[in-house]
């Protein structure tokens, strides 16, 4: 797996800003990078949530105004948010359920841009944290390129040309990446890709670290980190 500069990354991590699971995982992944020699290659995977959980739209007061979800799909969605909210709160983060299924592809394109234009890893981390945190507080319109343009600038990432990129080469790059990832077998976020092996979910972080360290000793059990790694 390579980024736009054809640099080989050891560990690729697929995320989607609209995923609560990616939201509660991203800080842990940054911790992994800080504590190891790995440079994470962040890849946007824009999920079509309606294709596996149905679609729904709510008013501010939580009233459902449009939905094709079955009771079973609702129970899975509600359980997922209940669980993610619990882990987010444990990290001191606010997770408010979105009122619609967002098209997060522009934020994904902004992630590609940020990764290619950030002068430091800290800038990239700040950008991701800012977009994640504000989106989950219902304070960031990730479908608005102007909002993303400003978000890049706010953390010191050069943003000149971003809008054109997002509507041209960036869009093409994003769309191509979706095809590649799906073909490779990535279907959800966060997913970790290491030497063609895929790990889906932050519960595999220990196993990913185990693999990165040469698979010595028994393979760890899955676990959702509750305290800082």
């Amino acid at each position: 797996m390579t980024n736009e500069h054809d640099e080989v990354s050891v560990l690729s991590v697929c995320i989607d800003f609209k995923s609560p699971y990616a939201f509660v995982a991203h800080e842990l992944i940054w911790q992994l990078e800080a504590q190891s020699d790995v440079t994470v290659n962040w890849l946007p995977l824009t999920l079509n949530i309606g294709s596996f959980l149905g679609r729904a739209e709510k008013r501010d007061n939580g009233e459902v105004v449009d939905s094709n979800r079955t009771p079973k799909q609702w129970s899975v969605v509600k359980a997922a948010y209940r669980e993610a909210r619990c882990y987010a709160e444990n990290q001191g983060r606010v997770l408010r359920g979105p009122l619609k299924i967002w098209d997060s592809s522009k934020a994904g394109i902004a992630l590609i841009w940020a990764q290619n234009h950030a002068d430091t890893r800290a800038q990239l981390k700040d950008f991701m944290t800012d977009v994640f945190d504000r989106f989950w507080q219902r304070d960031c319109d990730i479908e608005d390129l102007d909002v993303l343009h400003v978000a890049l600038k706010n953390v010191g990432i050069q943003n000149e040309g971003f809008i054109d990129y997002a509507q041209g080469a960036g869009r093409a790059s994003h769309d191509r990446l979706q095809e590649q990832l799906l073909t490779q077998g990535v279907f959800g976020v966060p997913s970790f890709i290491y030497e063609d092996e895929i790990f889906f979910g932050r519960e595999h972080l220990d196993t990913v670290i185990w693999r990165l360290n040469g698979s010595q000793g028994p393979m760890p059990f899955v676990r959702y980190p509750w305290q800082a790694m």
Partner: protein, 208 residues
């Protein structure tokens, strides 16, 4: 939660022995229980896995193509994860049950839990059973059950497969109504934890 023996003080692990993820879960929770000095009981939960994608109304050809490709990727991933789980169990083969063996094994789990047998005892029993044979029929399951709890021999003599099957289905349905979506899951103080990956959080909750 008093019904069906799910007392509030114990951690209850709900498993389906057909799936290596559940067996890995038993192994993990047994090690955890020993460390935590926490009562953990293992119960059967036999429901078809939820496939939410199958309930999505048909869409455009592109939408359907995406669904199909994503579904394929998901199935391929599950195979990969099954292999990793076998590695976690130090096994190089996937076991299967005969129909009678499966009912007896899950019925046996139920009886062991009702008798208050802890996960630390259930774990070596299950691991030994799945490691010993590729096909687990009622004869080998019965031998394993009576080895772990000789007193079960008399109950096994009265074992009726269709009655046991109905009992397992009824209990699993009841658990579904409590919000259990899949196996392995855990129940603690009425809260459902989907997947054994929640053990670190459970540690924090159980700590006095």
């Amino acid at each position: 939660m008093a019904d069906y023996g799910f007392d509030a003080l114990s951690v209850h692990v709900l498993v389906n022995l057909h799936d290596p993820e559940s067996v890995v879960g038993i192994k993990a929770v047994a090690e955890w229980a020993a460390d935590q000095d926490q009562i953990v009981r293992v119960w059967p939960f036999l429901r078809e896995p939820i496939n939410t994608a199958a309930e999505v109304p048909k869409g455009t050809p592109d939408f359907e193509a995406y669904k199909a490709r994503r579904g394929l990727a998901r199935r391929r991933y599950k195979d990969q994860e099954r292999q990793r789980n076998l590695q976690r169990l130090s096994l190089n083969h996937l076991w299967s049950f005969t129909a009678a063996g499966a009912v007896l094994a899950h019925w046996g789990l139920l009886r062991l839990a009702e008798h208050g047998v802890s996960a630390t005892i259930v774990s070596p029993f299950i691991l030994g059973m799945v490691a010993s044979n590729k096909v687990l029929d009622s004869v080998c399951v019965q031998a394993a059950l009576t080895a772990v709890m000789p007193a079960l021999a008399s109950e096994i003599r009265g074992f009726d497969q269709s009655v046991a099957k109905a009992e397992l289905a009824e209990r699993s349905l009841w658990l579904s109504d409590q919000g259990v979506l899949s196996a392995p899951s855990m129940l603690y103080q009425g809260e459902v934890f989907s997947g054994m990956a929640h053990l670190p959080r459970l540690t924090a909750l159980c700590r006095p």
